[in-house]
């Protein structure tokens, strides 16, 4: 499940809803990204309506298969985001913890540099589009190598 929203969301409520009624999942892992104050007035995220959801949904399907997840969900803010507000919540459910942790990490790496989202930082000198860092690209590539050369 992928939800894009231009409104603040409650990560605790989302986690509770995700866990509700699960009797087969031994593990739920979560990652919450929060907007840092940094230098200025927060962030702005742009999406390509329709396309962004379908691309992320397709990635979540591959992650579910790869990590034998029972479920995976992403809530991602778009539009203006104030410092301290949640930007992104990733939730994964599996029978055992390792798969849930790894899938959560993998999905987050994908979102940072491969999902159709564009991030702009608003600072005192104006707005600046954020490019993925070398670290972000390396992080995402870790999962490619793991696919090509299974240990």
């Amino acid at each position: 499940m992928i939800r894009l929203t231009d409104q603040p969301f409650d990560p605790g409520a989302a986690l509770n809803a995700f866990c509700s009624g699960r009797t087969e999942a031994g593990a739920v892992a979560s990652f919450l990204g929060i907007a840092r104050r940094g230098d200025g007035g927060g962030l702005e995220l742009e999406a390509y309506p329709g396309f962004t959801q379908s691309e992320i949904e397709a990635f979540l399907r591959t992650a579910r298969d790869r990590f034998t997840l029972q479920d995976a969900a992403v809530i991602h803010r778009i539009g203006r985001i104030a410092p301290g507000e949640a930007i992104v919540l990733v939730l994964t459910a599996s029978a055992h913890r390792r798969e849930a942790f790894e899938a959560c990490d993998c999905i987050m790496d994908y979102l940072k540099s491969r999902a159709p989202l564009w991030k702009r930082e608003h600072g005192p000198g104006g707005a600046r589009w954020v490019e993925p860092t070398a670290r972000d690209l390396d992080d995402a590539a870790r999962w490619d190598q793991a696919t090509e050369n299974p240990a």
């Binding site: 159709p116 954020v130 993925p132």
Partner: protein, 81 residues
């Protein structure tokens, strides 16, 4: 007719977000040439690493053909999270 959308930094470089090209160029490369003919900054930005194109919301690999009435999106390097 082709509807062209620009995202992220590309929109700021070009100074527009959406444009209709009539008649429709036959290919993605012809469309790029058309929208960049008076804009070398946009040409440079489209040639930057990580820029991708989608035709009717499907990522294009290489130089795709453009069906009449399609929507083409040019997208710079992605950065969510």
């Amino acid at each position: 007719m082709v509807r062209v959308l620009l995202f992220g930094k590309l929109r700021d470089v070009a100074g527009w977000r959406e444009r209709v090209c009539e008649p429709a160029p036959a290919t993605l490369s012809a469309l790029k040439a058309l929208i960049c003919q008076d804009d070398s900054d946009l040409a440079d930005a489209l040639a930057a690493p990580g820029v991708q194109a989608a035709v009717d919301r499907v990522l294009a690999r290489g130089d795709a053909g453009l069906p009449e009435g399609c929507e083409v999106a040019f997208m710079p390097a992605m950065s969510g999270g």
